[in-house]
Symmetry: C2
Subunit: 376 residues, 2 copies
């Protein structure tokens, strides 16, 4: 048999693809999951193999709530958690149950490019609103709200993908106000919430929700392992009800009961906390290394050093087009994500996204040196 493809992306050994927004394979916690699986199997509870309760295993939600409480420094009610198959699955479910073709949704400009693909699959009318160092610019959002009637605003309010920025507390409150006035709901993609390196971000958007407007989406993909396909939605029970009660979950049962039960053990054994701490240290160092490599080798590249997440969002000088320059980069066996991918209006051509999670520090430096040569 020829080598079968296992992972979503694979890179030739002599290439450096700074466009990949995934964890490094060598860092994935296989031994940790083995320990957790053994712990779980030893409990001889066959119910972890049965159709699970739609909202997600009650014990797991209790356990997850405890973990999140410790991290957030705020109470987490297990009944405000719905277990998902990760943020992509949650977005897919939200679109399937809450939208109709032609409905409008508002996203940040830039936004996570693969969320845009999901919205396109559901034939949604996607409207972009600019952001700055503090996230969505509220005046610009309100202008759009006066003209459109979006079902929801999709925001990445913390360590934004690609821009790295975090929505300030004041703007979070303003966003909630606007959601009440203009009657939309807020889908907050908070996959990087727990990956803070230099300062602690505001609490998840769900904590700003005085009414019933916010779905906060979390995931184990970036803090444990993407292959588990496990995440959660935090929201008021009334907001969770249409998902918990949908036909898909009624038919199939809750999402990933078996995996949930193993991740329960990951948390119970204190392994999640320990691994997260390790990850944050690794990423903090890589972020610092990538930042200084850029400053040293490509000083013309403008960027803000993020305080968490996976990405540096950098701007080319003189309105250069990052998509066109990709050909030059590839001649030097280096890649990045061109800004246009993150735009819903084919803009942001002078931006590029660099990920510091997938590579070791030496490779990050090598990658930036290649990029410097390519951009010469």
């Amino acid at each position: 048999m020829t080598q079968a493809q296992v992972t979503q992306v694979s890179v030739s050994k002599d290439w450096i693809d700074l466009g990949i927004g995934q964890p490094q394979i060598e860092n994935l916690p296989l031994e940790l999951l083995e320990q957790a699986a053994n712990h779980r199997f030893r409990q001889k509870d066959r119910r972890i193999l049965q159709y699970g309760i739609e909202q997600g295993n009650g014990n797991f939600r209790f356990c997850l709530a405890g973990f999140l409480e410790a991290r957030y420094g705020k109470p987490v009610d297990p009944d405000h958690l719905l277990i998902t198959g990760g943020v992509s699955q949650a977005l897919d479910m939200i679109c399937g149950l809450k939208t109709r073709p032609g409905d409008s949704v508002i996203v940040e400009e830039p936004s996570y490019f693969l969320a845009l693909r999901i919205f396109a699959d559901y034939n949604l009318n996607v409207i972009g609103v600019p952001i700055d160092a503090n996230g969505i610019i509220m005046e610009a959002l309100e202008e759009k709200l006066k003209k459109h009637n979006p079902v929801f605003v999709y925001t990445i309010p913390v360590f934004h993908n690609p821009a790295g920025v975090t929505l300030s507390a004041e703007r979070r409150e303003k966003l909630i106000d606007l959601s009440e006035t203009y009657e939309f709901f807020i889908v907050a993609d908070e996959v990087y919430q727990l990956l803070n390196y230099t300062s602690k971000p505001p609490a998840p958007m769900a904590y700003y929700d005085g009414g019933e407007r916010v779905l906060s989406l979390g995931s184990f993909s970036k803090i444990l392992a993407p292959g588990l396909k496990l995440g959660w939605m935090q929201a008021k029970p009334k907001l969770l009800a249409p998902f918990t009660g949908c036909g898909y979950l009624d038919s199939g049962g809750g999402l990933n009961p078996f995996v949930s039960s193993i991740v329960s053990s990951v948390i119970e054994l204190g392994l999640q906390e320990k691994y997260l701490k390790k990850l944050r240290k690794i990423y903090q160092d890589r972020m610092a290394t990538l930042s200084s490599a850029i400053r040293k080798n490509i000083p013309a590249l403008e960027f803000r050093e993020p305080s968490g997440g996976y990405f540096i969002w950098a701007r080319l000088p003189d309105g250069a087009d990052s998509e066109l320059l990709l050909a030059d980069a590839q001649e030097h066996k280096v890649r990045y994500q061109p800004g246009i991918k993150f735009s819903c209006i084919q803009g942001l051509r002078d931006y590029l996204r660099l990920c510091f999670a997938y590579y070791e520090q030496t490779e990050l430096i090598d990658g930036i040196e290649r990029l410097a040569r390519a951009l010469e």
Copy 2:
């Protein structure tokens, strides 16, 4: 903490709920999965934790194809398999990507009641076509096709839920012909394909597809464990392409890479074959027991003994209403699924569905004796 709900259904100890269409918890193969997980972890392949390739891990698809080939006695091309999160997830994805609100779909009358719920979530116009001992009545189907323009026909062509019947080979060919003439595609829910007890069913619908019309849906829920949330779609690559290429899988990666890798070991170690053999023996005995208990205790109940699957679909005499009679049954602490649940036109009131998978033989007899007293 009070006892948290873990599984989708729970029954009080002194009740017998013959309406539950799930495997028996005591039969779920925990030790088998422990063995498979240990085997997988020992291989030290961290890629099982990474974002997986959209179509599903190539090694797993190869392994699954080998298992299915041996069971079907027919070649299975790994490139014709897309790994899903089970049949419910596949149905959800098909509705999300292939339909728009108001589109028509044709189902069997009766059909799987929770598939009807998924179709309702997508605001589809559901049209029922009657079945007999050999599955869909083709003349009745063609009548509907002349009037409507369905996106797809949803069929449970093998050991039908609830009716227990199997679509004959001739009718399968006719269904394919009709799909070409009237340009619809066929969604075949074949979750019970491998649970044959007294005779081998025709090959999955995908093998009848001369063109590009059939999506055959398989699952590990009934042959291994529902909590794994793992299944597959077998179809021509052109038909799989919109799913493999959708935004959800592009963003989240393939479905359940970690679980897939464990189930690879279940198959490689020969455990799936062995467990399936065991299950078939258990269910065959239970089916025989349930059948003879009905004949002995409620001779007025008409039914055909199925040759596989989970269910007996029985008809009450004198046009009695099974939904109304449920109250009487419940007085005797026994339940079943009333026929109306499986109807898209609020019909089939004189039918009821009894499952023989969830209970031991003694409990099945007890349940039927209670039902006999209730119906006296």
